[in-house]
């Protein structure tokens, strides 16, 4: 059996961090979609998705990033992606995600990116 999918959430300051573990495919993507929707419903628009333990992603997983990023950016937030394993990274790259998404090496870097001048500066509770 492949290791299944797991998702954990935490906050770093006003940044919501979602960590993805295992495989994100058409079967598990709805859980990821619900987690992002939850954050938005809770007023969190600054989201980091930590992919360090993520071993596989298919277009169903990529579609979740794709469908939320515009709305988050309109609300002065963003989805930053970090810690991609090489195999997952190449799936992001082959579709041109690196040009549209902010992809960082580490979680710290991704969280800090929200405070850089070109990023959104509106804070939240």
């Amino acid at each position: 059996m492949p290791n299944p999918f797991a998702l954990t959430k935490s906050m770093e300051g006003d940044v919501a961090v979602i960590s993805l573990d295992g495989y994100l495919d058409a079967h598990t993507a709805p859980q990821f979609e619900a987690a992002i929707q939850d954050e938005m419903d809770g007023g969190h628009t600054r989201i980091v998705v930590d992919c360090a333990p993520l071993t596989y992603i298919s277009s169903a997983g990529l579609g979740v990033f794709m469908s939320f990023v515009e709305e988050l950016r309109e609300q002065d937030g963003d989805i930053k992606i970090c810690a991609l394993q090489p195999k997952v990274q190449s799936t992001f790259e082959v579709l041109g995600f690196a040009e549209i998404f902010d992809i960082c090496d580490t979680r710290q870097e991704a969280v800090a990116r929200f405070d850089e001048p070109h990023a959104a500066t509106v804070g939240e509770g």
């Binding site: 079967h27 979609e33 579609g63 979740v64 990023v69 190449s90």
Partner: protein, 144 residues
């Protein structure tokens, strides 16, 4: 490696729950065929996308239907066919949108067929709606 052709077939119920199993099947065959880890990864992803499309689009998530994956390889090429008996479609009528357009339109889909075409060396649909729809994919086995 022998010149003999090897054949493998997997039938599973049409449910996304079985995608993990399909990927393991395919990655075992890819490794056995002599693909390197990168190409095994590409094969796995292309077949996942093809089967996810069958489960969602051809069968509209009717889990009483079957997805069939057939694989053969020899020393030079690995062929994988994904077969369904679902509604079928006209693949030439599906236009591939750029990523920035999809993002602007807040789409969550539209990447699968592009991925399949990018990842495989040959991709061909044979559509007979309700009877048999097949997606033929081929990956060349690069000599190390």
């Amino acid at each position: 490696m022998t010149a003999l052709e090897r054949k493998f077939t997997l039938h599973v119920p049409s449910s996304t729950e079985n995608l993990a199993m399909i990927r393991e099947f395919v990655s075992n065959i890819g490794t056995q065929a002599g693909l390197d880890a990168r190409d095994v990864g590409k094969l796995e992803l292309a077949v996942d996308e093809a089967c996810a499309n069958v489960i969602e689009h051809a069968y509209g998530n009717d889990t009483s239907k079957d997805v069939v994956i057939r694989a053969t390889f020899d020393a030079d090429e690995l062929h994988i066919d994904v077969e369904d008996t679902g509604r079928g479609f006209d693949p030439t009528a599906v236009k591939s949108e750029e990523l920035d357009k999809l993002v602007a339109a807040r789409k969550s889909g539209g990447l699968g067929m592009r991925l399949i075409k990018t990842l495989m060396d040959e991709v061909r649909y044979e559509i007979e709606p309700g009877r048999k729809n097949e997606l033929h994919m081929m990956k060349r086995i690069r000599k190390a």
